[in-house]
Amino acid sequence: MNLDIQREELLISQLADLLKNDKHVAVGAASPIPGAAALLAKEEAKFLNKRLRVTILHSNKYNNFTDGARELFDCAAQGRIDTFFLGGVQIDGQANINLVGTGEYPKIKKRFPGSFGSALMYFVVPQIILFREEHSPRTLVKKVDFISAPGVSERDVYRPGGPKYLLTNRALFKFNKNLKKFSLCKINEKETVKNLVKVTGFDFDVDNKISQMPNPDTNRINILRDKIAPMVSEFYPEFANRIWGI
C-alpha cells in the first residue's frame, strides 16, 4: 500500500481531529474534504464506543433530514448541530467571509455563486470551521469586499455560534472571539511562519504551542482509503476518482 500522504488526505485528517467532541456534524454543498473528514471521524468514534451523527446534504444516504431543505437551518438554529464548515472567496482577519464576489457590490467585478446558508449557520453552530484550500493574499484578505456573514457580532445580537478554526493548505488557525483575531496553531511541514506572514493578507497572532500538522497514522489512512473513500464516491464521484482513483 502506498503510504505517501496526499495533500487532500492531510486536510481530511486535520479536519477529523477537530470533530472528536461532536455528536452531530453537518456538511453543506460542494464540500468533499469536509464530508470525508466527518465520515472518518464517525468511523473512528465507533472504536471509542461513541455515536457521531454525520449529515451530508448532497447525499441521499447520509442526509438525515426529512423535513425538506429548510431542516438543516432549523436543526442548526435549535442547537442540534455541533460543527459545520464554511468556505469563502475571501476570508478576512476578523473572520468575515465573502461568498458573493470581488469588487464593490452591487457593481461587482467577479461574481461567485452566492452566500448559501452562511448568514444563518455562522450565527448558530457552535463550531464553524472555515475551510479554504488556497492560502494566498487573494483569498485571505485584510477586509472582504462583501460580508456574506460576519465573523463577530454586536453584543445584543443572538449568536451562540461562530468561527472556531480556519484550515488552509498551509496552516491551521484558531479564532479568538474576544481579540477578533486569528492565531496560528499548526503549520504544514513545508511551511515557515515567516512565509505564512507573507502569503496571508491579514495580521494574525502566533500560538505559543505552535506545531506541525501531523500526518495521519497508518491506521487512519487505512480507514480513510478502505472505508471512507467508497462512501465519498457515492456523493462526490469526481473527487473520489481524482484522489483515490475509484
Binding site: 425538506g68 431543505a69 457580532s153
Partner: protein
C-alpha cells in the same frame, strides 16, 4: 369527469406570462428542464426567478437566453462543474438584478405566505452585507416579554407569493396527487404559489391516500393546477430516487457556456 387536468407541455408554458415570479426548485428537488427549454423557445421575458434556495443549469440557461430580469437566490452555481457562467456574466455586466439572499431567508419568506402572515422573523443575518442591501427587509427590537432576549434585534422578512411554480416529479397518482418524497420544500413552494404545474415521468393507477405511508410521500392534488407527462423531464439534472444527473452533459454545458457564442451554439443544439 377526470379527476385532474392533464395538460400538454405547451399548455403549461402558455401559463407563464412575461414578468411573472417563477418558483425555481433546487437541483435536488426535481428541476423541470424540458419545460425550461420550451419556455426559452417561447421567448418569455422579464421573469423574476425565486430560487429555493439555489439554481444550477436551469437558472443559468434562462438568464443566458435573456428571459430573466431579476433573480432572488442564495446561490447560482453548477456545483462540481464550477460557476454558472451566464449568471456571472449577466451580473458583472448589470444585465439582471440579483437580490442576494441566504437559504433560510428564502424558506422563511415562503413560509410567511404559506401561513398568510405579512412577515416571518429570522435570527442570524444581521450585520451582513446581504441584510444591508435588502431594502425589503426590516429589523425590529424584540417586543416580546415572554420569549427571546428583551430588545434583541430581530430581522423580519416579507411574505413572498409566487405567480407560478413548475417542478418535475417521479409520478402522480390517478387523482393528481404528486409524489415528492422527503423533498418537502416543494410543498412549501406550492403552498406559496398562485398556480402550480408539475411535469411527471408517469401517472400511476393508484391512490396515494389509500395507505397512510404513501399518503405521507405526496403533495395533495388540491395545490396542483395541471400535470403533464414528460419522460426524462429533469435531464440532464437528477431526479432524486429515480435517476442521477448526466454529469457529462452538464460538464459540456459548463464549458460551452463560458462564452456567449459557445452558449448560443449549445442552445441551438439543445432546443432542436
Amino acid at each position: 369527469m377526470k379527476s385532474f387536468d392533464e395538460l400538454s407541455l405547451k399548455e403549461i408554458v402558455d401559463e407563464v406570462q412575461d414578468g411573472f415570479i417563477l418558483g425555481i426548485p433546487a437541483d435536488y428537488s426535481g428541476v423541470p428542464m424540458k419545460f425550461t427549454k420550451e419556455l426559452i423557445k417561447k421567448g418569455v421575458k422579464n421573469l423574476k426567478l425565486y430560487c429555493l434556495p439555489l439554481t444550477t443549469i436551469q437558472g443559468d440557461m434562462l438568464i443566458g437566453s435573456g428571459c430573466v430580469s431579476e433573480i432572488e437566490a442564495a446561490a447560482v452555481t453548477l456545483g462540481e462543474f464550477g460557476m454558472a457562467p451566464r449568471f456571472s456574466e449577466a451580473v458583472e455586466n448589470g444585465k439582471i438584478l440579483i437580490k442576494d439572499s441566504t437559504c433560510p431567508a428564502l424558506h422563511a419568506q415562503l413560509q410567511a405566505t404559506e401561513k398568510s402572515v405579512p412577515f416571518m422573523p429570522l435570527r442570524g443575518v444581521i450585520g451582513s452585507d446581504i441584510q444591508k442591501h435588502r431594502k425589503d427587509w426590516h429589523v425590529i427590537e424584540n417586543p416580546m416579554r415572554s420569549s427571546g432576549v428583551r430588545e434583541e434585534p430581530v430581522l423580519l422578512l416579507p411574505a413572498v407569493q409566487l405567480d407560478i411554480l413548475v417542478f418535475h416529479a417521479p409520478c402522480s397518482d390517478r387523482n393528481g396527487n404528486i409524489q415528492i418524497g422527503r423533498r418537502r420544500e416543494l410543498a412549501t413552494l406550492a403552498h406559496a404559489s398562485k398556480k402550480v404545474f408539475v411535469t411527471v415521468e408517469k401517472v400511476l393507477d393508484i391512490d396515494f391516500f389509500e395507505d397512510e405511508l404513501s399518503a405521507a410521500t405526496c403533495l395533495p392534488a388540491l395545490y396542483v393546477n395541471g400535470i403533464s407527462i414528460v419522460k426524462n423531464g429533469a435531464w440532464p439534472c437528477a431526479l432524486p430516487g429515480v435517476y442521477s444527473s448526466d454529469n457529462e452533459e452538464i460538464k459540456k454545458y459548463s464549458l460551452a457556456a463560458k462564452t456567449k457564442e459557445g452558449f448560443g451554439e449549445y442552445m441551438r443544439y439543445c432546443l432542436k
